[in-house]
């Protein structure tokens, strides 16, 4: 059973994500995480000012429960199911990241330069987290879905719009890594 405490290979992770989608379909729901961000806006009262948030968010409560589960799952996965959370990425990627200033590459789950608690008081790290979050939130709703709604659910249902969105995800990601990272870091 030691494999549980090791990082899980893709051929376990991928089918398990498909299983999550299958289970949600089989309980009459769908797999899409970003819809929750819209629900959270509605709960905060955004529907009073903006038409887009005027909907019956209570019908989306099931998805918020999935989110709560996802948080709990992250806690269980990191605290009880992992011996060592360092991510063994490609050696050349580690070198590239080191030269960009990410000394934690290869030794951590997330770069400590952005995600340890000191970054909450570091203006640059904070700015990166805010801008990144804004882009994710804005882009995902503009595109009508994220990695779960488009890349997994949409592509699995052979939806052309999802293929366009996923192509967009890649264009955006490649622009960020190749052109913007050297300017930011």
């Amino acid at each position: 059973m030691n494999w549980i405490f090791e990082p899980w290979p893709w051929y376990l992770g991928g089918p398990m994500i498909a299983a999550v989608m299958f289970l949600l379909i089989m309980v009459g729901k769908n797999f899409g995480m970003s819809a929750n961000l819209r629900t959270m806006c509605a709960i905060c009262g955004a529907g009073k000012k903006v038409e887009f948030f005027k909907f019956d968010w209570k019908a989306q409560r099931w998805n918020l429960i999935v989110v709560i589960g996802t948080v709990i799952g992250g806690f269980i996965g990191s605290h009880y199911l992992s011996d060592n959370t360092a991510v063994a990425i490609n050696v050349n990627t580690i070198k590239d990241l080191n030269s960009l200033g990410f000394a934690s590459a290869g030794d951590a789950y997330l770069p400590t330069e952005l995600f340890d608690n000191n970054s909450l008081t570091d203006i640059k790290s904070l700015a990166i987290l805010i801008v990144g979050g804004l882009l994710v939130g804005f882009g995902t709703r503009y595109a009508g879905g994220c990695t779960s709604g488009h890349a997994i659910s949409g592509l699995s249902d052979l939806q052309i719009p999802s293929l366009i969105a996923v192509t967009g995800f890649f264009i955006g990601g490649l622009i960020m890594i190749n052109f913007l990272f050297p300017l930011i870091f």
Partner: protein
Amino acid sequence: MRGIVYLCIGVFFGIVLFKSEAASWFRIYEMFQFRSFHMYGIIGSAVGLGIIIIQFIKRMNIRSFYGEKIIFSPKKKGFRNYMFGGIIFGLGWVLVGACPGPMFTLLGAGYLPILVVVAAAIIGTYLYGLLKDKLPH
């Protein structure tokens, strides 16, 4: 009762995201450098199996666990919103290394700064709602 089912599915999803390292900023970076098969393996095998699952459900007229008819709603036709929205999402995805599922996993794993990302993502969603009618769709 159904609430517990949703919660369990969520817990399973959160564990899978963390343990498969799909919630790792480093894995996302590495994916966009095309230096590892890992993330492609995860997404590819999930989609490959997903296609089989959905085709099976559709062709066999499988009903849900509760005996209800399963409805798949096709995405609306369009190009610009999917492409432009997708690009904006991709820019942010690589920068913070987390999309709307993994960001909640990471919150549970105890990375406090991800709260900033979650809050910003909610505000980003609000900004989209605010500007929706002015954007090309």
